[in-house]
Amino acid sequence: MSLLQVNDLSIHFGGVKAVQNVSFTIDAGIVYSVIGPNGAGKTTLFNLITGVYKPTTGEIRLDGEGIHGKSPNELARRGVARTFQNLQICMNMSARENVMVGAHLRLDRNLVKAALRFPGLKSRDRELSEEAAELMRFVGLGQYVEARADAMSYGALKRLEIARALAMKPRLIFLDEPAAGLNPKETIEVDHLVRKIADSGVTVVLVEHDMKMVMNLSDRILVLNYGKKLAEGTGEEIRKNPDVIAAYLGAHA
């Protein structure tokens, strides 16, 4: 059975139909990309699936369970992680702490135990700190382990978000334009990183404008245009699809 099923999903903001009747399924273990021109509704789709927005109509099923309308923290409990196109980093914390926050649900969050510095809690925290450093090295941020978040470059922060998402030990990770604003060298590194994440068994859903990266990584691709599903298929199928070519190049198909 597919891991994620989206059926007839729509959201309207006043008169704007940002996503209209979109349906697709994602199998476990694949890299699934969502592409489309700016304003096509890609990020809105991410926000719907990860609980930031509530759909106007339609349903979203994770392992068969309806998750539409659930809040982001409830989805986090079900193993859904994400990164943001416009960075959402806690600048009031160190880089490593940002990653440690990702492990929130795996920790004892008791207030009283924390205030009284229970030894079990403290030793678990030290382990986690090591784990966070390890994750930072995994995403290529080894030199930033002791850095403050507000002292890091844009490209590094993009990867810090990925490390934070991975700290959740998710089943499904949504990456919203992980290569946007990166130079070609960094883009290649992110490309490799996404591949490593997928190889570790996490299902990856990717929004990205870098076509080379998308074609290179994706098992399946969904194309959105004006909030509607334009096409879906493998990279080869999408490349040849006349509607997609028209949408991207403005050609008359």
């Binding site: 809040s71 923290n73 986090a76 992680a81 959402q88 924390a114 205030a115 809690l121 934070r164 700290a167």
Partner: protein, 310 residues
Amino acid sequence: MKKSVYNGLFLVIAILLVLPFIVPNSFYLDLAIRMAINAVIVLGLNLLIGFAGQISLGHAGFLGIGAYASAVLPTHFGWHPLLAMGAGAAATGILAALVARPIFKLKGNYLAMATLGLGIIINIALRNEAQWTGGPDGMPVPAMGLFGFELSNDKQWYWVVAILLSVSVWASLNLIDSPFGRALRALHGSEVASQVVGVDVVRYKVAIFVLSAVFASLMGSVTAHYVGFVSPNFADFFHSIELVTMVVIGGMASVYGSLVGAVLLTALPQALATFEGWETVVFGAILMLSMIFLPRGLVPTLAAKFGKGE
């Protein structure tokens, strides 16, 4: 966070240990006790404002509930002061929890307005229920007995308050550097990011609001017993503002900043007494200048300047 943040705690304890032996007279001992009481309240408030990024303009109301519980329950019902203190804290906790859920659906200015309103309502209730509270005139508070002996002189009070302060600093430091504290700081840094990693933001905001309200209530009780008298001024709006100012001047999201803020703003009115009549103006000017030149508060600005992050 490194081990070094706890070094400050040793410094605080050292100062607290030495202080009663070097103060020249009882006036300064009294001042030290007031500073320490305020410091504990400000620590709790800073967890809410500085670390979790929420605002409360009604904290003096919670202080008032604690103070009046310690005045009314032993006087009218013959409760033991400790029991009354606990009841005040429990009532504050319950009230805070009840109002917090709807309040934390609000943000920014609306949250400030809602907490402000709550504080004012508590203050009005204390003024109007004159048969219980003595109304605007206030009422005397019976002495605090602890395990058979009565807390009567300032020296004894000093040690009680010093212990409370040391424990509060220690607990605050622990809390900040824990999964709970990280979640708090994260929801301040980015609410949406903390949500997607699984932080139930409303629950955490409510929890820290209740905790800081209970801190205030307990210290309200302590103040009431120490001063031996309560009046509605304990719970008025200006006191709430004063507490917030201590947080801001000392430094948001800084444990030691809370202490510095409380100490300075408790001492400042005394130091400015020589200006007669002009002290509010000078007080205001000092606040304004420190906001312009030290916007992050004293301790974080100085810590950054000398290259030692807290």
